[in-house]
């Protein structure tokens, strides 16, 4: 029994740290509130969809920035999508970088965009790792 209580405490602490470090924001709490006995896998389902969507978008962004002539309008449209979906699941740090990324697109600043893309990829891999850990423990 002690083992389970200890695990639960660790789960609470781990989740709290994700909020504290800014990986997640209040929106993630909203998602958890929408999960109940009738919809047990809701959070995992939505976040998994986010991962798939993000993978696709990051590929598109990498490709777009690799073109000899960058289509900033298309780039911005993809960043807008990523910004929206990260906001919807509470992936706070990714959302923040996307805001900068959109500014770089607006300025048609290729260097800035490349930097932002690196940042997004970095934040994405961090939060993905954290969330996968969280789901392994909480289910």
């Amino acid at each position: 029994m002690d083992g389970i209580v200890e695990l639960q405490r660790q789960l609470i602490d781990y989740t709290a740290s994700l909020f504290h470090e800014g990986f997640l924001d209040e929106q993630f709490n909203q998602l958890q509130q929408l999960e109940d006995e009738n919809n047990p896998g809701f959070v995992v389902e939505v976040v998994t969809l986010f991962f798939e969507d993000a993978d696709r978008l990051l590929n598109e962004l990498t490709k777009a920035l690799g073109q000899p002539s960058v289509d900033f309008k298309s780039l911005d449209a993809h960043v807008h999508q990523l910004k929206g979906s990260s906001s919807s699941i509470g992936a706070h740090r990714i959302h923040r970088v996307c805001i900068s990324f959109r500014n770089s697109c607006e300025e048609q600043n290729v260097e800035g965009c490349l930097k932002n893309l690196q940042q997004v990829k970095h934040e994405y891999s961090l939060v993905k790792d954290r969330l996968e850990t969280l789901f392994r423990v909480r289910g």
């Binding site: 939505v46 969809l49 969507d53 999508q81 929206g84 979906s85 919807s88």
Partner: protein, 184 residues
Amino acid sequence: MGIAAEAPFHVLAVDDSLIDRMLIERLLKTSSFHVTAVDSGSKALKLLGLVEDEQINEEPPSIALEAHQDVEVNLIITDYCMPEMTGYDLLRKIKESRSLKDIPVVIMSSENVPSRINRCLEDGADEFFLKPVQLSDVNKLRPHLLKSKVKDEEDQQIHDKGINETEVIAPDKTIPKNIVTKNG
């Protein structure tokens, strides 16, 4: 035969983002709405019975956009930024349709642009929600639905009265479908 429970309100959700569709659907279902979610304005119009045809568009709008609503929708909630047809375009088409104009429309957007918000509200949107949409936002929908229901019932009473008294000839002689009340 016992007293049947009121059928839940039917909300049509429109959003090109799969994640946001999942989210809005869950929010609405949690609030006991029946939900249909589609990924574009054109699919929404199709479901509502409004079919656009390039040839038909040459005719006067009142003939072209006559709706044959098979599915009763009590409220439409739509994203603003969508490819091809924006939420604003969808709002305009709905408000221009004789049979659909009284359905409350709510717009959602991730961007807080006051001019955008004002334009939507001025052109007939009942609410404008900033994304991510919360349960507290969804709770604001019921009054619009109840108000719409009361209007439907009043319209029905007026309609019934019209039949009993001298026949009033409407300019277009059509009776909008949304005047038909739900069976209890």
